[in-house]
């Protein structure tokens, strides 16, 4: 059977976006808006078609992947880039859960967005997002990935600020967009550096891989004279391996900055908690399951490059560790149910980056995969809770919902067990694997391992707190609101249940300690070669030890949470749900850092405005006045007759030619 063309996959959401956008525009004048049933059916249809085509392609994919060049995009002498798609094991797994979870969340949104005036607009954005995400994942060159990268950033902006009547939502959207832009500069610079080193062709992933392997084979000596090689490159335009590897390190750092922006790592992580201002399905789809993991995807995609620059990998590990720990502690302090989940997402992304930092790209992607299920389930569950409480997001005003909304509670508890790493659940396998790889990574390994394990304990504490505060104890809200609590409609419950199944069973694709390594074998053609480059600690430790320690950490954390919040009477909440005092200091630490940076830049700008600019203005004034004085002088030679002057100048030319001839110039 011949395969579907690859461009079918992004085509469906694009059509969906155009059709739904047209519906939203046409109906914008009417009072009632378009039929929700019709719009909902359309908005699920196109992601589902994309998912179906991905599944169809997945079964027929040859070992090396499918490559298809659609057309040329930019074709000028200096710069040639094609629009091409690459469907290999890595993009397959990403596409499967992007389109699959996208479809589920589209179904969920039909229930969640019921009655909203922007119903069609919302789904147009969701389809646009899926299109951009598919382009990001499916493209075969960095430039096309960048197109998708910007596209998902735009959709994130549009969807965070979806309820744009509230100025705070717009501010959160702006913040997300601007912070991401800082990261995007890194991505752009990285691409430019690669172009300088190897020409525009190496923006293509395959060409980049072969370029890197030729550099690696070229023999790079650690103590090479970098400065000399740099000047050599500067003056002759030839790049020797001595200089290429340091330049690649800078490029790698730039790409990593891009990843920190998109995946909310230190220092560009402040936007993600604020991004919770958007509708909850958006938080589940974009800010938990798919978009924020694109940074991890990029690291895995460029794994051949990153393993050649171990310095940057160390940076990545440290950033991941710090982010994971910091966000986990910040998660402890939140009262808003979505904020807890947001910090938890940041923390889990930190795990993924740690794994990527020790060149365990496959387990990193595996955690992306399992995380997509349980975090989406948690967000959708939180959405259902918020929905049933008519918009209440403060956990201190919840409680005892286990009896009132049993299905939601079960889904969230399963997902909770997955995220804390309870044995057998999805998160257990992936987190365990990451910790194991961290331990084996090298001399610093045990330290990273302890840091990861500590973070796992804190994860169990704050997630336990969320579950306890929301579902156990007694209801702490007002009496009249208690009567209105209801279970979510079926369109919301079904996707949640499906995701909960994923949260329970997705981990069995790579149950390392049980000997099931299906996932690893699947990803081996893409990242296996890269991972073999770096040396690993040979000391073998029984995987059961890691599994046991991980389980203990989870149980210990859950125990702390139960002991602290399980029985205690929580005082009724007053004021806003934002953390206060020292908790706020911790939570908003990076906002504070950003503030300092902005202040410094402001100060520089003020200085330039008031001093440097004045000097420039003075220079301008000087030039202008000289010209004016000269002009005034010359203007007095001007007579009224233009033709006379031209005739005079002609006579002047004649005189000049005669002089030149007489002095023998031209002959």
């Amino acid at each position: 059977m011949t395969n579907l063309p690859l461009w079918f996959i992004p085509l469906f959401p694009l059509i969906g976006c155009i059709v739904l956008g047209a519906i939203a525009l046409i109906s914008s004048g009417s009072k009632k808006g378009p039929s929700e049933g019709f719009v909902g059916a359309l908005s699920v249809l196109f992601p589902a078609l994309a998912f179906a085509s991905v599944v169809l392609l997945s079964f027929n994919m040859p070992e090396g992947g499918i490559r298809a060049t659609l057309c040329n995009w930019i074709d000028i002498p200096m710069f040639k880039v094609d629009i091409g798609f690459l469907f290999d094991a890595l993009s397959r797994i990403m596409l499967l859960f992007v389109t699959g979870i996208g479809t589920l969340i589209a179904i969920y949104s039909i229930g969640y967005m019921h009655g909203d005036r922007g119903f069609a607009r919302f789904f147009a954005y969701i389809n646009l997002f899926l299109f951009s995400m598919i382009v990001l994942v499916l493209s075969d060159s960095l430039l096309l990935t960048f197109l998708g990268w910007e596209g998902v950033g735009l959709c994130s902006y549009l969807l965070i600020g979806f309820w744009n009547h509230d100025i705070n939502n717009c501010k959160a959207a702006n913040k997300a967009f601007i912070v991401n832009r800082v990261g995007d500069i890194g991505f752009l610079l990285g691409m430019l550096i690669l172009c300088v080193v190897g020409g525009s062709t190496i923006l293509n992933y395959d060409a980049l891989t072969s370029f890197i392997s030729s550099i690696a084979a070229g023999g790079y000596a650690e103590g090479a004279d970098v400065v000399k090689a740099f000047f050599n490159a500067l003056f002759t335009g030839t790049f020797t391996p001595d200089i290429v590897v340091p330049i690649l390190s800078i490029a790698g750092l730039c790409f990593f900055i891009g990843c920190t922006g998109k995946s909310a790592q230190i220092p560009l992580l402040t936007w993600l908690p604020d991004a919770m201002a958007g509708p909850t399905p958006v938080s589940a789809l974009i800010h938990a399951a798919t978009m924020v993991t694109s940074g991890v995807y990029l690291l895995a995609r460029l794994s051949t490059m990153f393993v050649q620059i171990p310095v940057i990998l160390d940076v990545i590990t440290w950033v991941g560790l710090l982010t994971a720990f910091w966000a986990a502690v910040a998660g402890l302090f939140q009262n808003d149910i979505k904020k807890v989940l947001a910090y938890s997402t940041v923390s889990q992304l930190g795990y993924m980056f740690m794994a990527a930092g020790v060149a365990a790209f496959d387990s990193s992607i595996f955690h992306v995969f399992t995380h997509a299920f349980f975090k989406a389930a948690l967000f959708l569950g939180a959405g259902a809770v918020i929905h049933s409480l008519a918009g209440e997001q403060d956990m201190r005003k919840m409680g005892g919902l286990l009896k009132k909304t049993p299905v939601t509670a079960c889904v969230m508890i399963f997902a909770f067990l997955a995220i804390v790493g309870f044995p057998g659940f999805a998160g257990f396998w992936s987190k365990d694997l990451i910790l194991e790889r961290l331990y084996m990574s090298g001399p610093m390994g045990p330290f990273f391992y302890v840091g990861g394990l500590l973070t796992a304990v804190i994860t169990a504490v704050y997630m336990g707190r969320l579950i306890v505060l929301t579902f156990f104890g007694s209801y702490r809200g007002s009496k009249e609101s208690e009567a209105h609590i209801h279970e979510a409609p079926a369109t919301m419950l079904i996707p949640m249940v499906v995701l909960a199944f994923g949260a329970v069973f997705a981990g069995w694709l790579w149950a390392d300690s049980m000997g099931i390594k299906y996932f690893e074998e699947m990803l081996a053609p893409v990242v296996g070669a890269a991972q073999a480059v770096l040396p690993h600690n040979a000391a073998h430790v029984n995987p059961m030890v890691f599994a046991g320690l991980g389980t203990l950490a989870a149980l210990f954390g859950m125990g702390i949470a139960w002991a602290k919040w399980g029985k205690a009477r929580i005082p009724a909440a007053k004021g806003s749900s934002a953390p206060q005092g020292k908790m706020a200091t911790w939570t908003f630490f990076w906002d504070y850092v950003h503030g300092v940076v902005v202040t410094v830049v402001d100060a520089i700008a003020w200085f330039v405005d008031n001093f440097v600019d004045k000097i420039v203005q003075f220079a301008q004034w000087l030039v202008a006045s000289i010209a004016e004085i000269l002009g005034d002088g010359v203007a007095s030679f001007q007579v009224r007759k233009v033709r006379l002057q031209i005739a005079l100048s002609l006579a002047g030319v004649v005189a000049l030619v005669i002089v030149v001839l007489l002095t023998g110039g031209l002959i």
């Binding site: 203007a635 007095s636 001007q638 007579v639 009224r640 007759k641 233009v642 033709r643 031209i646 005739a647 002609l650």
Partner: protein, 106 residues
Amino acid sequence: MEMELQAMYVQILALVIFAIGIIVAVSRRNVFFVLMGVELALNAVNLSFVGFAKTLPADLSIAGQIVPLFTIAVAAAEACVGLAMVIMIFRNRESVDSNDFSNLKG
């Protein structure tokens, strides 16, 4: 000397036409003649280009035959703007005598 077409004849012709063009442009007072004189001078330059191009060997002779194309295009732009200016000035001054146009006097 054999009676054949010489490269020099072409240049002499170009020179004569150029001189006539300059004379028309500067000595006539009617602005239309000024424009026509400029066109004539430009034509002479083109002729000179082609004439010189034909004195160069093989590949070198192409450039001299490409540049007149650009000159013609620029001349078209120049005529377009020049005529628009004539129209505008004529509308303000009711005159086509270039002696009447002295707005730029300092």
